[in-house]
């Protein structure tokens, strides 16, 4: 596998604003990369820099081995799908598709043949004579995609291409884009603020915040071993529960602080006694059991059900969100026991937010209950 896109120490300044901070990224040929993060994190700036629409301030940017820092967009041989699709309103679908070919001097008949081939694979054949304003949102999206495909570019750049579609179509197009990527064996960079899109579509996810890469890796690695509290909270839905905790005097226990309620859990290894940490537990990793049967008990605040899953929010401070499949018969005000698989517990340094790695791969929870429901504070 060869590297298709390489970024070494890339920085981008807008005046005094530091939009991209020392970005290092290596993308292999054929990889689907998702850039994900909250708005303003620099993901779109990074994508636009790859397209050549923004000039990077310092660092090195290579596409297919060639240095691209000062190369104008038209000579980069990348294709971009814009959030607004950016279809040329005064051209028919066919003219939109063949525009890039015609600029390159491809003969009209040849360009039309190429457009027909692409349109056949994306289901646009019957719309070739229409103008963009006569198409539905989903059809416009397909035209935007086809316009990129027809060029056989070195890389596809997607700038939140699904955010203007309704929910059902978005799920469908997600699969379609991924299938397309696989069929073309393309290299794709996909910007999104939706972590579900990133997780489901990408081979490699890059989580960004405030112009820096917080973590990058395979989707499930990010889910299983988030490098810091930000990534832990960003990846996964509903978001991970964070509970302030203090390491006990023996250095092998951690006390979760729910305000009135306290829970004491054992750690698989020693940590500096008295240090404060943040414990993270994903809602789907907490099991609801009968009162007294789990690691600790909590009172139930409110319960929401989607039919297939039940979301339970505890009446503790901070709140715990628990996701259960099915429709557990739990109601507001009940006391429930919670069981947590010790490997699913994440610990973060409270000051830096960095992940604290378990030395032996396990953070254990002591079997007997140490939780004291309100009124029985230890």
């Amino acid at each position: 596998m060869t590297l298709q896109i390489e970024l070494n120490g890339v920085n981008k300044f807008y005046g005094a604003f530091h939009a991209l901070k020392d970005i290092n990224l290596a993308i292999e040929e054929g990889t689907f990369v998702a850039l994900v993060g909250p708005s303003g994190c620099g993901k779109s700036t990074l994508l636009r820099s790859l397209a050549g629409l923004e000039k990077i301030s310092t660092g090195e940017m290579k596409i297919a081995g060639a240095l691209m820092n000062d190369v104008p967009p038209r000579k980069r041989d990348v294709a971009m799908v814009f959030q607004s699709y950016a279809l040329y309103p005064h051209m028919t679908v066919e003219e939109n598709l063949t525009y890039s070919l015609r600029i390159r001097g491809v003969k009209r008949a040849e360009a039309r043949k190429a457009a027909e081939e692409v349109a056949a694979t994306t289901g646009l054949s019957h719309l070739m004579k229409r103008y963009p304003r006569e198409l539905s949102g989903g059809q416009r999206q397909r035209v935007a995609m086809s316009r990129a495909i027809i060029r056989h570019p070195k890389a596809f750049l997607f700038d939140e291409p699904l955010s203007n579609l309704d929910a059902a179509l978005r799920v469908h197009m997600r699969k379609e884009i991924r299938a397309l990527h696989d069929r073309l064996n393309a290299t794709s960079v996909y910007v999104t603020h939706d972590q579900i899109e990133a997780m489901t579509m990408a081979d490699h996810v890059v989580v960004m915040r405030d112009g820096i890469i917080e973590q990058q890796g395979r989707p499930l690695d990010l889910y299983d071993r988030p490098a810091n509290k930000f990534v832990a909270g960003f990846i996964g839905s509903p978001a991970m529960n964070f509970i302030p905790a203090v390491v006990g005097e023996d250095g092998a226990h951690v006390a979760l602080d729910f305000g009135k309620t306290q829970a004491k859990l054992a750690l698989g290894r020693g940590l500096p006694p008295g240090s404060s940490v943040t414990a993270g537990i994903r809602p789907e990793h907490i099991k609801v059991v009968a009162e007294g049967q789990g690691a600790f008990d909590v009172p139930v605040g409110f319960v929401e059900s989607t039919g297939s899953a039940t979301f339970i929010t505890s009446a503790t401070q901070p709140e715990l969100t628990i996701v259960e499949t099915g429709r557990g018969g739990v109601g507001s005000g009940d006391i429930i026991g919670l069981a947590i698989d010790p490997v699913q517990l994440h610990l973060f340094d409270t000051a830096t937010g960095k992940r604290i790695e378990p030395e032996n791969g396990r953070i254990g929870i002591e079997p007997p209950r140490h939780l004291h429901v309100a009124g029985h504070v230890s």
């Binding site: 629409l53 967009p73 971009m80």
Partner: protein, 275 residues
């Protein structure tokens, strides 16, 4: 007050106001058709009893209107061409780049628009005469009109360009076009309506321009219709019907064009000329 009554009242008010506003135009048309005695009759007649249709041909012949109108057309087309070529580029740059200097430039451009022609004519006359531009007086007038009307055009066309999304241009760049190619292939076709409408408005202004032409064009052979109309009037003029016939011939084509294009002009001005 019922809704229907209110609507009718509003309509009546609108009709009365329109009638007051358009009365001079009406008076021009009917005075042209009146005979010499009917023109000065008291009380005045609002409809000519014996319309003098032959007056148009007579005035056209006697005043040599073909030459005047030709000069008007030359000046108007020249000004529109010059303004369009220079103004489109200027408007595009002002639409696409935002910084302090662009804001200052825009402010200065609007300042130019504020200055009246009668104020500007003296310095322009002195300057042009020193450059020898007055030897080609119609060109000098074109230049002066272009300077005067350019701001108006730039401001209108800039708004049109701003309504063309930047992303379309970026898509063209990524698709393999150069900046200039993207401008001509994508931006210009999309801004066409707005540019056309602005150009028509400039044309109408230039077609009726008087101050610069009167001051700079001494040779009667080169004078436009507006100056010709002015020279028609003297201190003891009483041939109002002939003057009105002249005015009728002069403005009717413009009026007709405006009425025909009216919908496009209004929509072009309000919506940035884009679907």
């Amino acid at each position: 007050m019922s809704e229907q009554f209110r609507n009718r009242l509003m309509l009546a008010v609108a009709l009365v106001l329109a009638a007051i506003y358009l009365f001079p135009l009406y008076w021009m048309y009917i005075t042209a058709l009146k005979s010499g005695s009917a023109m000065f009759a008291t009380p005045p007649k609002f409809w000519p009893s014996e319309p003098q249709w032959g007056i148009y041909g007579d005035v056209w012949q006697s005043r040599n209107m073909g030459r005047y109108l030709w000069n008007s057309l030359v000046i108007a087309f020249g000004a529109v061409a010059l303004i369009s070529v220079l103004g489109v580029g200027c408007a595009y740059v002002l639409a696409r780049y935002r910084n302090v200097w662009v804001d200052i430039g825009l402010f200065l451009i609007l300042m130019l628009q504020v200055l009246p022609a009668s104020l500007m004519i003296t310095p322009i006359f002195v300057g042009f005469s020193q450059f020898g531009l007055l030897d080609t007086p119609r060109f000098a007038v074109i230049l002066a009109i272009a300077a005067k009307s350019m701001p108006f055009f730039v401001v209108l066309v800039r708004a049109t360009f701003m309504s063309v999304p930047m992303e379309l241009e970026e898509a063209a760049l990524v698709d393999g076009n150069s900046r200039i190619g993207a401008f001509f292939n994508i931006v210009l076709p999309l801004a066409r309506n707005g540019i056309l409408v602005s150009a028509i408005l400039i044309f109408m202004q230039a077609f009726g321009e008087f101050v610069y032409s009167k001051s700079m064009i001494q040779d009667i052979e080169l004078q436009p219709a507006s100056v010709g109309l002015n020279s028609f009037m003297g201190p003891n003029t009483n041939e109002w019907n002939n003057i009105m016939a002249y005015a009728t011939i002069y403005v009717t084509p413009i009026l007709a064009a405006f009425i025909l294009l009216q919908r496009r002009i209004v929509s072009g001005l309000t919506s940035g000329a884009l679907k």
